[in-house]
């Protein structure tokens, strides 16, 4: 353990907040899916890596910037999500253990396919602005150095979360989704088409992780097996935030982004992921409802 100077610490915390914003968009779909159908989609990170590969291929093949390629990837992922839920998840019923295994099976299928196509080389999208930095002067001896890609990710995340929030709170589909989260049987009684809400939610969940994946490809390097490490981070975030709660996920993402960045400079980057696992483990055991969610021990 070594403690950095206060200036370095401020710099690290700000970077952590920016990263946390990107984490928020990665997990927003995961927590929404849990809220509506009580499924923990273990394949979420694998779908994110898939989207990152699409962004990478479009960039290296056609020179399309990941921010632009989202336009093409998002509708595809929405459709994949709808079909996956309708054809694969819905027929299995509602045994949570079985559903977790099923999404886990989807995850290793994706991992295997991506690994066979692309090998184990780590990829990342290196655009012209990848290594540019925006300096922000804060007082005489404190200049924050903000990487452009993380800033972009942070801004894009808030756009996505804003759209999701509007969709949930200002549209009739959003009302149906919220009703299903609160009480699916009652929602069905008043005429909500539950099975359609479920498949649409899964589609929206994957569409949001497609955006997360495009941003991810700009900031991090990945290969087919990266999803294992990322799904554990995602789970830590949504469990801490309270499963099913979007605002909770945002707060937890920022907290964990900062915690990870700070532990990376005070301990080592090798051991810093343990922060996620410990928070995940302890939250599940001590406060299963997380920061802002309902109790999930029965989940």
């Amino acid at each position: 353990m070594s403690f950095p100077s206060i200036n370095v610490l401020i710099q690290v915390i700000v970077i952590g907040l920016l990263t946390g914003g990107v984490y928020a968009v990665m997990v927003s779909g995961l927590t929404l899916i849990f809220g509506v159908m009580k499924i923990i989609n273990i394949a979420h990170a694998a779908f994110m890596v898939l989207s990152a590969y699409f962004a990478y291929w479009l960039f290296s093949g056609f020179g399309i910037d990941p921010i632009l390629s989202m336009v093409a990837i998002v509708p595809v992922f929405f459709l994949i999500g709808k079909v996956t839920q309708h054809r694969i998840l819905a027929p299995v019923g509602d045994d949570p253990g079985l559903l977790v295994l099923l999404t886990f099976a989807l995850a290793i299928t994706l991992e295997g396919v991506l690994g066979s196509i692309s090998g184990s080389t780590f990829r990342t999208v290196r655009t012209g602005y990848t290594s540019s930095i925006v300096p922000v002067q804060l007082g005489s001896d404190l200049t924050l150095r903000l990487p452009v890609v993380r800033l972009t990710g942070f801004v894009a995340s808030f756009v996505v979360l804003g759209v999701l929030w509007l969709m949930l709170n200002r549209s009739s589909l959003g009302r149906a989704i919220r009703a299903t989260i609160q009480n699916s049987e009652a929602a069905q009684l008043v005429g909500v088409n539950i099975s359609r809400v479920r498949s649409t939610t899964f589609g929206i969940g994957l569409a949001s992780v497609a955006i997360g994946g495009a941003l991810f490809s700009l900031i991090f390097s990945f290969n087919g097996s990266s999803h294992v490490e990322w799904i554990s981070k995602m789970l830590a975030i949504i469990v801490l935030g309270g499963l099913g709660s979007l605002p909770g996920a945002l707060i937890a993402a920022l907290i964990l982004g900062v915690a990870e960045a700070v532990s990376a400079v005070t301990m080592t980057t090798y051991i810093s992921p343990i922060v996620f696992y410990l928070i995940l483990f302890l939250t599940l055991i001590l406060r299963p409802q997380g920061l802002m969610g309902a109790k999930v021990r029965e989940g």
């Binding site: 253990g97 295994l101 099976a105 290793i108 299928t109 295997g112 690994g115 696992y277 483990f281 999930v296």
Partner: protein, 345 residues
Amino acid sequence: MGRFVKRYWMFLALAVLLVYPLLYRAPYYHVLGFNTLLVATAATGWNILGGYTGYKSLGHSAFFGINAYLVAIAANKLGWDPLWSAPLLALVVASVALVLGWIMARAKGSAFVIATIAMLLIFRLLALNLKSVTGGAPGLSQPLAPWSPELSRMPFYYYMLFWLVVALLVSRYIRRSRFGLGLLAIRDDEGKANMVGVNTTLSKVLAFSASAYFIALGGGIWSYAQTHIAPIFAFNILNDVDTVLATMLGGLGTVWGPVLGAFILIPAADYILFKFGASQFHLAVFGVLMVAIILFLPRGILPSLRDRLAARRETSSAFAGARSMEEISDDRAADQLEVGEPYPP
């Protein structure tokens, strides 16, 4: 003849397994046999928790890894012979699992599955980073087995076979005991089981620990057979995948299902590896297989076969509706407990 087979098929199967390494003498067959028995033992153990209580853990290979390291460290530092230290140290691991199980039994459903994955990842990270104890990423070596290399894995094969038989006897004993009936009741309806007097927490913790024992035991023997272990192989979620897939393929919650599943799955996986080489494609095939089993054969081979046989018997026999005790305890064990009679009588 048919009746003879029906009655003594277990001993026939055991006899086949005993002569197999003598008939197929190439080391390849011994390795394949050993791996199959290893997964069969681990799956039999996993089934005690995942099959009987329905708590599906994806992190039990943490115990596999822990004992693999304990056995290697004990062999290096204290000179303990792994053949007896593996089952002994597995007891230590099982007591650790008792504590961990007590903590984790508070989570249910998906929360439980996530907690088990987190547990595995924490131990893996520790194995990678506590370099003075575990040797870090490169791993640990331990002395080779003393017998001649010509015997290859044969002694390991027979040793593993012995422990598979033990695991099966324990699993069958639990399945037929009152404790096992309580576990099945938890699977069916935990709240109800609690109400009729099953100590659900204690039962879950004991099942958690019992299944950890056989997985840890397998890890210890595997460690000796490998002579060199590294965190990425010792703490690998794919070890859980093998175990879970074998159990589900054969029949979740049946005594023989996990063994049957392992004897189909591991040779098949080996064939896929041999045929297509690259391990990544092998992963995709496993994933698709797992999806297919969950979608089309959610109860596994044995229960589906039993249903089919029962349906056939019903049409041809006057004793339609007669069922074995095991079948009866299959459905709604919680309902039976309400009667309040000890089972078995």
